[in-house]
Subunit: 249 residues, 2 copies
Amino acid sequence: MEAHLPTNPGPIASLTPCGGGQCASVCAECRVRLYAVCAALDRDEINELERITQHIALPAKTALFHAGDAATSVYTVTSGTLRLQRDLADGRRQVIGFAIPGDFIGLAMDDHFGFSADSLTQVNLCRFDRQAFARLAHEKHGLMGRLHDFASHELGLAQEHMVVLGRRRAEERVAAFLLRWRERMARLTGASATLALPMGRQDIADHLGLTIETVSRTLARWMREKVILDVPDGIRILDQARLEETLAG
Amino acid sequence: MEAHLPTNPGPIASLTPCGGGQCASVCAECRVRLYAVCAALDRDEINELERITQHIALPAKTALFHAGDAATSVYTVTSGTLRLQRDLADGRRQVIGFAIPGDFIGLAMDDHFGFSADSLTQVNLCRFDRQAFARLAHEKHGLMGRLHDFASHELGLAQEHMVVLGRRRAEERVAAFLLRWRERMARLTGASATLALPMGRQDIADHLGLTIETVSRTLARWMREKVILDVPDGIRILDQARLEETLAG
DNA sequence: TTGGCCCTTTGATCCAGATCATGGTGAGAT
DNA sequence: ATCTCACCATGATCTGGATCAAAGGGCCAA
């Protein structure tokens, strides 16, 4: 595994404030409100949150922040997909996860980000000043509870992913990824026949601790065997049971 | 990796309430109070917590709970070491982590445990009824904040471990484990020349996604090269810089 | 003292997945 | 159109760590 430098995003974009109809300018119109941390808040509290909210539009393939940056802001994703990753000095990458609408970025509330975040698609975000958000969380009990729910849920997912990385074979890893991604997308868009895959093969490989070739071969085999079907910008799962068996085996 | 069934702990022990001088019977005397979640509470709140606290002594090599069990209790470790793990159907194991004094078990606040917990040594714990503890956390703002700090800290560690499992070579994994374990122990006991390793080689292997042979060979080589020294029930790190270089490489 | 059991070490061999190499394909630029 | 560039697919070969095999200790029970 040498430095392969995939999809190197440019410098951090000048983040354009989100005007016009591109994203909800008020929480009341927000499509992910019920999934996001904000669901914890009542009408008055939402108003308070709104005062410290900046709506941000991030173009595709752009860095939101880098690992080690001072964490002056935290974010809620309202649309699009981000890739969260840690890099080693010699170019090896671990994709920690992918953030989708409703996800909160900055749970650690640490002074510095422990990973980098780059947009895969165009992304809309609510940006909060970290200090102000932390103050609000310390005032509003419900918000802190909701944050904890998010953090502990993430922790459970992280532990599941440890099993995948530590003890699963290549084929099992890819199956686990497809099934989990499908599940997450279903929560957002409802059960759908086709599964959008905004991330590339290299991103999947770096998420699963594999090489791009292994991911590609595994998917190609499943396509030959009619387990999945290739569609533009994603796949269609034809035989979910087969993927689940792969995982159970 | 076939079923190796290592260190199969017996059935869950009848947990003996902790009487006598074995463990602090009141929080005021607790040696880990400042490290544990309880540090968030003032004197009155500590008294309330104490009312729902059961002091428990768990013998070595005993199961505290199994993955999938209804999570009726949550715990703070006051002494000893526990092994937290997930098992696959065919015997493969992933050791999620090791819990040491000050650690909180049950952050997920989920209805069911996502992993099993077994004592490696004799362990003393504060057991809390989960419902009562959750109620207290929702009343006492400081406690919820503290829980969130713990959860998000754990999340950061989990993400670091993903890098180890996904992208590190065998030697790097073992170095990462020794350095991190040393760090954790240092927080408890102060910097010490010798490093106690209450877990076996198989446990380390299952934590790092390796086999026992690879762990054994790596440690043996470092002993030959005077990087570490074998001492009863642990090791002494002679050349920490060498381990850090291994990790940086 | 002996035997049994568990854990660890060490050597020999194997193989899943990495690495290396090459070609295909589609989207955007000119 | 044609070029370029970033992905993706796929065949050939290699290798780090797994697997297989065997042989020490250390501890405890009888």
